[in-house]
């Protein structure tokens, strides 16, 4: 487990809970709602039904309809009322049912939530955490599979956070909710139930088989802006987040490559120190994300590594990404940056 993790309340002795990512997210919401009466949860189908992915299950029953409620199908409206609630002093946690649905709310996120503190010189803030499942690999077609994180990392005033394990999902989500800036919290829905090796034709391994599913009860936080060392290695650095963390780990294991894999966890603010330290040591850097390639967050990472670690590099920085097409339904696995694409890039970077 990462050494940065500060457990503010120790888990009860002798109990070891193993949760999947959905349960961990639900637990984070439960813990923060219990501690802070200003935390409210809203979104399409999140109330009585508990969310289409069940992340808010049981919360309305426990905290009542004024703190956990369904909303109209209006992402613009959901983000906008969260801005108003934040200005009042609440700490809203709106859910956008799929990241692909977030675009009608973009003006309210980009021009409003992200700008309130700046334009009012701190008089008004938008302390909201927008939760949204993102990424593909579940046969969601082009409107239920996208990874739009780079749209948000491009916006000044927004933080973008993406967990890759149940333990991180809980600790990071609590940090986000307690943060006084607006945060986009993208949940990699492919790994809600178990990590993904990249082999879609192999059965899913449930989270409970992995130690990262051990989720303490009660309150703990993982600071934003701190990457997680997934594996340590000297051959190359691999920067990834979300689902791809597990895919690159599986590929490296399969190929017998000793990679320094960093799970970035937070894209803004980015853990640049961890990235620099790793690349300076290995001299090689591979960046992997599922989102489309052009102007993706990988381009930013590539530029940063080149600008800051150039004289340590022994090979050009490589990117492995989704293709610059919409996410195709039937050809989903041809789009997905799977083991072949990643393996090829590793071979290339190691041969230079």
């Amino acid at each position: 487990m990462s050494t940065e993790v500060k457990e503010t309340e120790a888990a009860p002795q002798g109990t070891e809970r193993r949760l999947n990512m959905i349960e961990a997210i639900n637990d984070a919401l439960d813990v923060t709602m219990a501690r802070d009466p200003d935390v409210v949860v809203m979104g399409e189908d999140v109330g009585y039904f508990g969310g289409v992915f069940r992340c808010t299950a049981g919360l309305q029953e426990k905290y009542g309809k004024t703190r956990v409620f369904d909303t109209p199908i209006s992402e613009c409206g959901i983000i906008a009322v969260a801005v108003g609630m934040g200005a009042y002093g609440l700490r809203p946690v709106p859910e956008i049912q799929f990241a692909d649905y977030i675009y009608p709310g973009l003006d309210q996120l980009i021009s409003e939530a992200a700008r309130l503190r700046y334009r009012s010189a701190g008089e008004y803030i938008a302390p909201m955490t927008v939760r949204s499942p993102f990424g593909g690999g579940i046969f969601g077609g082009q409107t239920h599979s996208q990874s739009p994180e780079a749209i948000f990392t491009h916006v000044s005033g927004l933080k973008t956070v993406i967990p890759a394990t149940p333990y991180d999902a809980k600790g990071l989500l609590i940090s986000c909710i307690e943060d006084n800036d607006p945060v986009i919290f993208f949940e990699p829905k492919r790994i809600y139930n178990g990590p993904f090796s990249g082999y879609y034709d192999k059965p899913v391994q449930p989270w409970k088989k992995f130690d990262a599913s051990v989720v303490p009860e009660g309150h703990y936080t993982i600071p934003l802006g701190k990457a997680r060392h997934v594996t340590e290695g000297e051959q190359l650095t691999i920067l990834a987040y979300g689902t791809m963390v597990h895919v690159v780990e599986a590929v490296c294991k399969e190929k017998g490559v000793e990679a320094d894999i960093l799970d970035l966890r937070t894209l803004v603010p980015l853990d640049i120190e961890a990235i620099e330290a790793s690349v300076e040591r290995t001299g090689r850097c591979l960046i992997v994300h599922e989102a489309t390639r052009t102007s993706g967050f990988g381009a930013e990472l590539s530029a940063l590594v080149t600008e800051r670690c150039f004289y340590h590099l022994e090979a050009p920085v490589e990117r492995v990404t989704g293709f610059d097409t919409p996410y195709p339904h039937s050809l989903e696995w041809a789009y997905f940056p799977g083991p072949i694409r990643i393996g090829g890039a590793i071979d290339k970077i190691l041969s230079e």
């Binding site: 409210v40 906008a80 010189a121 008004y124």
Partner: protein, 433 residues
């Protein structure tokens, strides 16, 4: 290329040819203006429904026009808010101050003291009178033409001018376009500059107030042109779904820069009638009648406070000046419109009313106008000591990077150092960095 050449139909198709309607205002520059098509009901002729009534029982309110001040300058009918003379004089004073402020700031922009200004001439009642009907701690989410609210709420003029000049006294640190004020202390939300975004935010604030069992309500203002934005639809939907204690004020001043209200749908129906489809209470009000504006806002505030639901108010008014300092209205509309506007001028109407009831006279009016102009002039001078736009008396460079986030992340720290370095290069050993 179009599917089919213009005017052609598929073979054997006897369906009629379609044509597109593009709205056109009745009058363009040089045209003689005749507003006789505007239906102006007699003052006092509209019934006043109970504040808790079902929106379905007051549908006619969305098509009529609530008017209190008649041709005789007296107050008439059930909507007369029966304000005492001191309150009426205070209202007149705020409106006169707003007008004096607008005159001075407009001139300041023309003199190169700032980049931009917007007057609210002719629309003063829609902010001043409406604001007076609210409690001082009711939250307001204004658009950009409600300076009257700040003046009515006693926000210091010098703060407004500092903001307009983006000078070192500007508490918004010179970050916002002039007139995009913010004052949490005065329950005045930070003005966006993007249109209609504040309307659903106001609903969210009202929902929060209701969720917390608070007693404060919310009012928001939006122009008729930007009711076309999706945000307005979101606001109406959330307001009605959650029965939020909010007042949605639509200021129909007939013009959105150069586009007349027809481009927001005014050729077909009223803006107050938007309320009906949502099941909101809708009121259409003479926006140049300060007493009607007060009475309507008070009605809606009472309704919201009684948990009886939100109200959509259309203030039917006229934008007597250009949209801002950046446009010349003589290029797109007839100059006669202002003088021919059938609902008159709100300041004149209130003044005449006070005179008609024996509580005011021309002499006092003149004195008040003069004092307002002099006060604004004096405060403007004070503000100018803090600098005017582009003359160096702005906030230190490092402030550019503050408030993007609560804490400065590494990338902004690096960029801040870069900016300070550039400043030092340009002005060695110079000003506050």
């Amino acid at each position: 290329m179009a599917d089919r050449p213009e005017g052609s139909a598929a073979k054997g198709d006897n369906r009629p040819t379609l044509s597109l309607h593009v709205p056109e205002p009745k009058f363009r520059p040089g045209d003689t203006v005749d507003f006789s098509h505007i239906d102006v009901p007699e003052a006092g002729s509209m019934a006043r429904p109970d504040e808790t009534c079902d929106p379905a029982e007051m549908r006619d309110m969305a098509y009529g026009l609530v008017r209190v001040l008649g041709e005789d300058d007296k107050a008439h009918g059930a909507w007369d808010p029966k304000l005492d003379p001191d309150t009426l004089r205070a209202m007149l004073g705020h409106m006169a101050m707003t007008r004096a402020f607008d005159e001075r700031m407009f001139r300041g922009q023309r003199q190169g003291k700032t980049s931009f200004y917007m007057k609210c001439t002719g629309e003063e009642a829609t902010s001043v009178s409406a604001s007076m009907a609210l409690a001082a701690d009711d939250m307001v989410f204004p658009s950009y033409r409600q300076q009257g609210i700040l003046i009515q709420r006693g926000y210091p003029l010098i703060e407004m001018i500092n903001q307009i000049y983006s000078n070192k006294g500007d508490k918004l640190k010179g970050r916002q376009l002039p007139i995009m004020y913010s004052s949490r202390e005065h329950s005045f939300f930070t003005i966006s500059g993007n249109l209609a975004t504040q309307t659903p935010q106001a609903v969210g604030w009202a929902m929060a107030s209701a969720m917390k069992g608070d007693s404060r309500i919310t009012a928001t203002w939006v122009g008729e042109g930007s009711t076309a934005e999706g945000d307005f639809h979101s606001a109406c939907t959330f307001a009605t779904v959650y029965n939020a204690p909010v007042i949605l004020n639509v200021v129909n001043n007939q013009w959105a820069i150069s586009s007349f209200s027809g481009f927001a749908g005014a050729e077909r129906t009223t803006f107050a009638a938007r309320a009906l489809g949502y099941g909101l209470a809708g009121l259409r009000v003479d926006g140049n009648d300060p007493l009607a504006c007060y009475a309507a806002e008070q009605w809606a505030a009472n309704r919201a406070r009684a948990n009886a639901g939100p109200t959509l108010i259309e203030f039917f008014t006229y934008r007597a000046e250009g949209h801002s300092t950046s446009d010349d209205p003589s290029g797109y509309r007839s100059a006669q419109e202002r003088s021919e506007w059938p609902l008159g001028d709100p300041v004149m109407r209130l003044k005449n009313h006070l005179i008609a009831i024996g509580e005011w006279d021309e002499e006092r009016q003149e004195k008040m106008d003069l004092e307002a102009a002099e006060h604004v002039k004096k405060v403007t001078k004070e503000a100018e000591a803090n600098g005017i736009l582009g003359h160096g008396l702005h906030h230190p460079f490092r402030t550019m990077f503050e408030d993007v986030f609560e804490k400065l992340p590494w990338h902004l720290k690096e960029q801040s150092e870069q900016a300070i370095h550039e400043r030092e290069t340009k002005f060695p050993g110079g000003l506050d960095l």
